[in-house]
Amino acid sequence: MSNVGILDGHDTHHDDHDHHHGPAKGITRWLYTTNHKDIGSLYLWFSLAMFLLGGSFALIIRLELFQPGLQFVQPDFFNQMTTMHGLVMVFGAVMPAFVGLANWMIPMMIGAPDMALPRMNNWSFWILPFAFAMLASTLLMEAGAPNFGWTFYAPLSTTYAPETVTFFIFAIHIMGASSIMGSINIIATIQNLRAPGMTYMKMPLFVWTWLITAYLLIAVMPVLAGVVTMMLFDIHFGTSFFNAAGGGDPVLFQHVFWFFGHPEVYIMILPAFGIISEIIPTFSRKRLFGYDSMVYATSSIAFLSFIVWAHHMFTTGMPLAGELFFMYATMMIAVPTGVKVFNWISTMFKGSITFETPMLFAIAFVVLFTMGGFTGLMLAIAPADFQYHDTYFVVAHFHYVLVPGAVFSIMAGAYYWLPKWTGNMFDENLGKLHFWLSFVGINILFFPQHFLGLAGMPRRIPDYALQFADYNMISSIGAFLFGFSQLLFVFIVIKCIRGGKQASSEVWESSHGLEWTVPSPAPYHTFTTPPELPKRVHS
C-alpha cells in the first residue's frame, strides 16, 4: 500500500509500490514539491493549524464574555483578539482550506495530470506561512497586534493604529499575492487542462463554483491590496486618502474595503456550495437536481456580489436612493441562493438517503446556512438595519453563514474525500460524534447571539450590561463545546491517515465523477494520460 501522502512523519509507509516518480524523501519533498496533491495537503494542514489558532483567539473572547465585567483580559487585548480571530479565520483558515481542496480535487475531477502552473503553485502556498508568521508575531511586540477589527476601518487603522499596523499591511499584501496566484492557477487548470469531452457543462459543480470564485478573487484581491497600500501611504508618506484634514475621506475607506469585502464573503461560500452539491447527490443516490440552474445561480450570485457592497454602510449617511438601491440589490441575492437551496432539497427528495458523516455535515449546512441567509435578509432591510447595525445580531448572522456554512462544508468535504486521500475509511462512529458535538455546540454558541443583538448588545466590546449575562454565558458554553470538539476532528483525521478499513476506488456506494475512478489512496500521479470519460459524469 502506498500511503501517498498526507503526513510527513510517516515516510516509512511509502513506496511499497515502485513509482517512477514517487515523492521525494524528507522535508525537501514538501519544500520543493510541485505536485498538486502534496500542495493540496500542505494547504489543508496549514488551514487546520490556522483554524485551531483562530479558534483559540475566539475562546479567549468567549472566556472574557462568560461573565460581565473584566475578568481575564484588558480591553485593548480583547480588541486584538477580535481582530486576529477574524483575520486568521478568513484569510488563514477558510480560504486556504478551499484552495487546498481545489488543489487536491480539481485536477482529479477534470482528468488533468496536475495543476497548470505547478511551480507557481508551490510558491503561492509557501509564502502563506510567512505572511501569517508576520501577522502573528505582532502579538509578541510591545505595541500589540492590530486592534482595529478585521475590517480595519480608517482612521482606526491609520491615525489611531498601533505601530504594528505595517506588519499587518505587508501580511495582507502577501496573502493577496498568494490568493491571486492560486486563482490564476485554478483558472488555467480548469480552462486548459480538462480531459477531452469534459465540456464546461459537464464539469462537476465543485469545479464550476471554484472557477467563478477564482475570477472573483482576481477581481477583488487587487482592490484589497490597493486599499492597504493607501493606508501604508497615509501612515508613512503623509498622503491623505482617508484623512479628512488633508482632504481625504474615511467613508471612502469603507467603500473601497467593502467593494472587496462583499465579493469576499461569496469567495468564502461559493466553493462550499460546490462541495455540498457533490456530497448530497452521492448520499441521496440521485443525480443533482437542476445542474444547469446551479451554474447560472452561482454566476448570478457572483455578479450581484459586486453591486451590493454598501449594505454594510447603511448608517454612514447614504441618501435614500442609495439605501433603496443597495437594499433591493441585496435582497435579489436571495433568489439565486434560494434556487440552490431548493435544488439541494429536490435532490434529496425521494432519494435513498443514508446519513454518513459527510452527509450529516451537508444537511446541517443546508439548514443552518439557510438560517444565516434569512438573518442576512433581515439585515438587508435598510430601516431595520439601523437597529441591528454593529450588534451581536450581525455577529450571529455572519457566523451562521461562515461556521455551519463555510466551515461545515470544509468538514463535509474533508470527510467525503479523506478515504480517497488516505486510502482508509475514517472512524464513522467518531465522525458522527464529531458532527453531533459540533452541531449542538454551534447552535448553543451562536443562536443566543441573535437575541443579544436584538436586545441591543454591541459587538467588539469586552464588557456588557447585566441583562445580557445569561445568554452570554450560554453562548460561551457552546463555544467551548464546539471549540474542543474540533480536537476530535484532528484525532479522526490522524487516525484515518495511520490506518483503518481499506477504501475502495468508489469509496461511497453511489459516488460518481472522475476522482472516484482512480484507486484509493489516489496515486502520486493521476491521469498522466487523459481519461476516457465514464458514460455518466454529470448531467
Binding site: L117, A188, G226, D249, L252, P319
Partner: protein, 191 residues
C-alpha cells in the same frame, strides 16, 4: 506519451497567454482600486453627497439675482477634531440671508498652546442636498492656518446662497471641523 509531447507546446503557450491575460486583469483591478478615489470625489460632487462644499467661487453681481422674497437661515458650527486644542468658534451662531445676497461672517480661533500650530478646517453642510448651493468666494478653509503660541485670529468667510436652492430648504447648517495638521505640515516642509 508521444501524443502528450505533441500537445505540450500548445498547452504551454495557452497557459502563458491565459496567465498574461489574468495578470493584466489583476493589474487593472489594482488600478481600479485607486481610480475609486477620484471617482468617489466626482460622484460626491455630482450628487452633492457627503455635504462637501465646492471650492472657491467667483461672484459676479450681474449673474446673481437677489431673491428678496425668501429668507434662508444659516447656522454655523465649529468643532475641534480629537486632539485639537484651539479655541474655535463662530462670531455669530445663526444668520438669515436672502438667496443671492453676499454675506460675510467671521470665525474666531486662538492657539492656547505654548508652540506654533497649524490647523485645517474641513467644512460640511447639512442637509447634503443643500451643499451645492452654498457658494464661497472666500474661506479660511481654503488654506491652512498657522498660529503662533497664544496668537488669535478672526477668520473671514464670504459666501452667498445660490438663488436656485430648492424652495423647501429653509434652514441649513454649515459646520467646520478643525484638524491639527502640525505634524504633517512639518513633514512636508522638511522635505
Amino acid at each position: 506519451m508521444s501524443d502528450e509531447q505533441n500537445n505540450k507546446p500548445q498547452a504551454k503557450l495557452s497557459h502563458s497567454r491565459l496567465t498574461a491575460k489574468l495578470l493584466l486583469g489583476v493589474v487593472g483591478m489594482f488600478a481600479f482600486g485607486f481610480a475609486l478615489v477620484p471617482l468617489y470625489d466626482v460622484f460626491c460632487e455630482i450628487t452633492g453627497l457627503n455635504g462637501k462644499t465646492g471650492g472657491q467661487y467667483s461672484y459676479e453681481a450681474s449673474q446673481v439675482e437677489v431673491d428678496e422674497s425668501r429668507l434662508v437661515t444659516i447656522q454655523f458650527r465649529a468643532m475641534n477634531n480629537a486632539g485639537m486644542s484651539w479655541q474655535f468658534e463662530p462670531a455669530v451662531r445663526e444668520i438669515q440671508v436672502h438667496p443671492g445676497e453676499m454675506n460675510e461672517v467671521t470665525f474666531y480661533a486662538r492657539n492656547p498652546s505654548g508652540e506654533a500650530m497649524v490647523g485645517q478646517a474641513v467644512p460640511s453642510v447639512s442637509p447634503f442636498r443643500a451643499a451645492d448651493y452654498l457658494r464661497k468666494t472666500e474661506c479660511f478653509c481654503f488654506n491652512q492656518q498657522t498660529l503662533a503660541a497664544g496668537q488669535d485670529i478672526d477668520m473671514p468667510l464670504l459666501f452667498f446662497i445660490d438663488q436656485d436652492i430648492p424652495e423647501d430648504v429653509t434652514k441649513l447648517t454649515l459646520s467646520y471641523t478643525l484638524f491639527d495638521v502640525t505634524a504633517s505640515y512639518q513633514q512636508s516642509a522638511g522635505r
